[in-house]
């Protein structure tokens, strides 16, 4: 039974998915990556509906701290008020529209629009304007800055929604909370975003970046030069545990790829890359985790990598270091990525240096791995121009077996959620593995 026989009111998404569990075939029409109509429908069905990542608590640590970002095209700024409350405003003066927040980040008690000098406080109220007598009584009270419909945080991650009826964030995050906890609990004193943003454009559809973050299969071929570099330093750990690990569905379209890391991790898995004299320190960090969480959870936190997707477009990759990566969709064939390093507050000196090095050698657009991911995505987008003569992308890997870390269960789960959102129907429950127990007849 293919998705086409669903009794959906609309097939805005499922018309592009060939999900044939009898034959063990899962294919996605490449029009999902090229069509302006699909892009437009995504804006309404997904980006106007879901919770979207804005920033981290540590970026607005003190009263008056603010950060300005464009999120799905809307100009916004997040500010911690003098009263300590965090608010997210549309960055537009209610008078004639100019941006009232004019810097990417900073600290302010007031925001004065540079056009006509209307001045707002950090709760958005209009305090003063030149020649108030030009307006009637009570006019000022109607001119506050507009807040986004929804704003909430979990473990320091701030999310917004443009959907007034969005369910609470904690419900939306569903099973992803377990993975956010596995990341945040690695710190003794909480996490912070390090200064220094990776901000880069990729000439490809935003979903290609999501797929790439969920894909373990490309690790060895695409990133061969990274592993060769680590090996040249005398390093390299091979992953041994493939069966039973891999992709998981977490509800609401969130997915994760988890497995034993074939590389060192600052918390807390030693590798030659870190240098001999760091062995004791890393062992001590690991011992602390075991004390705090027990051997099983500590091992999971220290030895495993986690590539987590919070539907639709937030990636938290806990790999050689931790990156928080947000993808802004600009057009069907263009995205802009914002990525940051997340680090425990207590990390300083050599430990912090080790993390930064571990981050930028692999993650980040100047490293030995991410540039090749960007190249792959842009190349796929070029390849998509062969559509409709070459119509489908295949995402069938692992349908006929218990999934491994190089299979594609998590990518299929993401697409099923995408299709459901586009159709306007509930996201289906997680599938049982293997999806196609009977040997496939292709």
């Amino acid at each position: 039974m293919t998705a086409r026989s669903n009794e959906a009111a609309s097939d805005g998404g499922s018309r592009y998915i060939d999900d044939d569990r009898e034959r063990g075939v899962f294919r996605v029409d490449r029009a999902t990556m090229t069509s302006p109509e699909v892009f437009e429908l995504e804006q309404r069905q997904i980006f106007d509906e879901c919770w979207l990542y804005f920033g981290h608590d540590s970026e607005i640590a003190k009263p008056g701290d603010y950060v300005r970002r464009i999120v799905v095209g809307r100009p916004l700024f997040l500010v911690r008020g003098s009263d300590g409350s965090v608010r997210c405003f549309y960055n537009t003066c209610p008078h004639r529209g100019a941006e009232v927040c004019r810097e990417e980040r900073g600290n302010a008690k007031r925001f004065t629009c540079f056009y006509h000098a209307w001045t707002f406080d950090t709760s958005g109220s209009l305090l003063t304007m030149p020649d108030e007598e030009g307006y009637g009584e009570g006019f000022k009270e109607t001119c506050s800055l507009t807040t986004v419909p929804k704003l909430d945080s979990y473990r320091g991650f701030w999310f917004i929604s443009f959907n007034h009826r969005a369910e609470p964030l904690h419900d939306y995050l569903d099973g992803a909370k377990e993975y956010l906890d596995l990341v945040v609990d690695q710190a003794e004193e909480g996490m912070r975003i390090l200064p220094g943003t990776n901000e880069y454009a990729v000439k490809a559809n935003w979903k290609l970046m999501v797929e790439n973050s969920l894909d373990g299969y490309h690790g060895l071929p695409l990133h061969q030069t990274y592993f060769a570099y680590v090996k040249s330093l005398g390093g390299g750990i091979s992953g041994t545990n493939l069966v039973g690990e891999g992709g998981r569905e977490l509800g609401h379209g969130h997915v994760v790829l988890e497995g034993e890391a074939p590389y060192g991790r600052p918390i807390a898995r030693w590798d030659h890359l870190f240098g001999e004299d760091s062995q004791d320190e890393i062992a001590a960090i690991r011992a602390r985790l075991v004390d705090a969480y027990g051997e099983d959870r500590a091992s999971r936190m220290a030895d495993n990598f986690r590539n987590l997707i919070i539907f639709p477009n937030l990636m938290i990759n806990d790999i050689t270091a931790i990156t928080v990566r947000y993808v802004e969709p600009l057009a069907a064939n263009l995205m802009r990525v914002r990525a940051w390093a997340l680090a425990p507050r207590e990390e300083t000196g050599q430990r912090l240096q080790r993390r930064i090095d571990s981050y930028l050698t692999f993650i980040g657009p100047g490293g030995f791995a991410s540039p090749d991911d960007v190249e792959a995505l842009e190349s796929c987008q070029v390849g998509f121009r062969a559509h409709p003569n070459v119509q489908w992308s295949d995402i069938s890997r692992g349908m006929t077996r218990m999934p491994t870390v190089i299979d594609e269960v998590q990518v299929r789960a993401y697409w099923r959620a995408w299709a459901a959102r586009m159709d306007g129907r509930p996201i289906p429950p997680p599938v049982e593995w293997p999806e196609t127990p009977i040997p496939a007849h292709r």
């Binding site: 390090l194 220094g196 000439k203 030995f368 090749d372």
Partner: protein
């Protein structure tokens, strides 16, 4: 003004310029092994993030922070034919100007210059910024102890990556 016009100052600046142009030519010609030989064993190559151009990689996330070993690793990667972003190699053209000697301390010469590095592959990307070098005078000419490329770009848009040596 009189300081800058002294013969030995002019000579030094000319020598520095020649060195920088020579380095640029090696890189534009993808003669990476020759380029690697320009570094001291304690060398560092840093490219800060676009939003924190004065960032140092000890506390701030930067784009590139290589010691001599990693510079070598970067060269090995680019020569391997498996650095897919640079296979086939892009064409590059480095334009270097506004070269100034900031100060001399012992055998070290601190230099700044402006750059535009054009990378051409399916389009033209410009990397714009300034260099800060610490060069060391040796019997075989200058060697690079520290090489820092601060980008003026607000983001790597449309570039996507820093896949070349800047």
């Amino acid at each position: 003004m009189t300081e800058a016009l002294r013969d030995d100052r002019i000579e030094l600046r000319l020598a520095v310029e020649e060195f920088l142009y020579h380095e640029a030519a090696l890189l534009d010609e993808w003669r990476l092994d020759d380029w690697l030989e320009l570094f001291t064993p304690d060398a560092r190559y840093v490219v800060p993030s676009t939003d924190v151009p004065d960032g140092d990689g000890s506390q701030t996330l930067v784009l590139i922070q290589d010691d001599f070993q990693r510079i070598g690793g970067r060269v090995a990667r680019l020569k391997s034919r498996r650095a897919h972003r640079e296979f086939p190699s892009s064409r590059t053209r480095r334009m270097i100007s506004n070269i100034r000697v900031l100060r001399c301390v012992g055998d070290e010469v601190e230099v700044t210059a402006n750059f535009v590095v054009y990378r051409i592959r399916r389009g033209v990307n410009e990397y714009i910024g300034r260099y800060l070098y610490t060069l060391v005078r040796t019997d075989d000419g200058f060697r690079i102890r520290s090489r820092r490329a601060e980008l003026d770009l607000e983001a790597l848009d449309p570039h996507g990556t820093v896949s070349i040596i800047l």
